[in-house]
Point group: C2
Chain length 292, copies 2
Amino acid sequence: MSLQKLSSNKAFGGELVKYKFKSAALGGLDANFNLFLPANAASGKVPILFYLSGLTCTEDNGAQKGSFLGPAAQEGIALLFPDTSPRGAGIEGEDDDWDFGTGAGFYLNATNPKYAKHYNMLTHVTLELPEIIASAGLPIDLTRQSIFGHSMGGHGALTLYLSSVLKGVKQYRSVSAFSPISNPTQCPWGKKAFGGYLQGGVDEARDKYDATELIAKMGKEPLHILIDYGTGDNFYKQGQLLPENFLKAARDVGYDEVQVRVRSQEGYDHSYYFISTFGADHIHFHANFLKA
Amino acid sequence: MSLQKLSSNKAFGGELVKYKFKSAALGGLDANFNLFLPANAASGKVPILFYLSGLTCTEDNGAQKGSFLGPAAQEGIALLFPDTSPRGAGIEGEDDDWDFGTGAGFYLNATNPKYAKHYNMLTHVTLELPEIIASAGLPIDLTRQSIFGHSMGGHGALTLYLSSVLKGVKQYRSVSAFSPISNPTQCPWGKKAFGGYLQGGVDEARDKYDATELIAKMGKEPLHILIDYGTGDNFYKQGQLLPENFLKAARDVGYDEVQVRVRSQEGYDHSYYFISTFGADHIHFHANFLKA
């Protein structure tokens, strides 16, 4: 698993580097990611915040459009931007739809044999990327990880965080999301993804990959969750996101606004213009826990 | 010249709107631009800052990747992002090269008959866009205009500003640029553009479209110029930008660092990662003059 540097850009006193490596989790395919190291990484290990992007995106969208790098540089936090799926698996039909297959990995491990060799973004993000960073000797303190994401990536961030808390692993100190798919077993995007990637379909997803179902099982574990969504978001209006379901489940098991904060932002939509507006807020939220 | 709204995104408490209209300056072709209005535009006219993008770009690059909207919202300044050339003129060869024709209008008015009907980005930016904004009743105070840009757009911003000062028009209160093409009659990009668009070629460009030549004629007019370029910029290293020539010409005629400030930024490149790093700086620079 050796890392190849594809490009490097100085930004906000730090450096954004695009890497490529042969990903075992993704069946031996090449995988790219962007890593932003703030200037203070030159003098010691820094905490890391993972950003999971949404449908159709790559490792570039968040890095280019999120307005995250400035606040991360200010806080002294690294940012890691993975891709959103394997690329070039050669599976029949994987490039037919924008909301399934390439660009739409849903941050799960596929169990449908057709996809199980390559579509393992869960392992890629939670295990493989931290390992490859550590083995490359990059100046990251892996005891200080947090995660955030947008839309499908918000779903990924919430489910990876909650699963890790449920398992008692506590891989991530905090999670945040912009317009997350919050109850995917109840929305068209989620049903399609789970129906395709998982042998057991939506039923198999319920206990593992649905943030609303996951938080409904909790109540005692301390949580640090921030969610923003816009009331002008067409996908929200179409019932793809369902943040109210997540909020209700959280309140029903006793989480208050300090532990699970869900903010409705008047008139904002699903775009990176929305994300960038609240990007600094999210970075500072995570910094509270990453630097504690 | 009626304006059609193509899309609208709430951002940083304000609104980014993409407009389309039939552009007389561009020979009747459809032209797009993005306009960001900060929240305070709801209660009165606001100053406006034009951003001219570089080769291959559209009206979207600066809006999406520049990290300009947040600082502009904070300062209460509107941002206007024009396209970089006419689109679809149907002139033979206009789509063959990335540095000439479509996406590469160079902010001039063509005199070569082949291009003269459509390639008039100078008139489009300096006259047509302000007019259409005024006639649409948008809440912009056109007595408070400034301009900035990147690369080819830095060339555009500098030459439009200096020409207006030389003519005594003072359309723009201040100018800034990221990695501008500063002496285009001396670099390959400029020679190619002027050779193609202008009947008199590079000779015709010297007095009108070369920032270094323009400033060399001045010395008495008060100027407000800020330029940033990166020492890791490959186009700088290849001699396409030549900011030192501009700086020397400015100093030779007596402009000091207060009036003409050219900053060399160690290790930065030509990308939007560089631009976004210093984006807030440039917005605040212009705010000093726009709000004076």
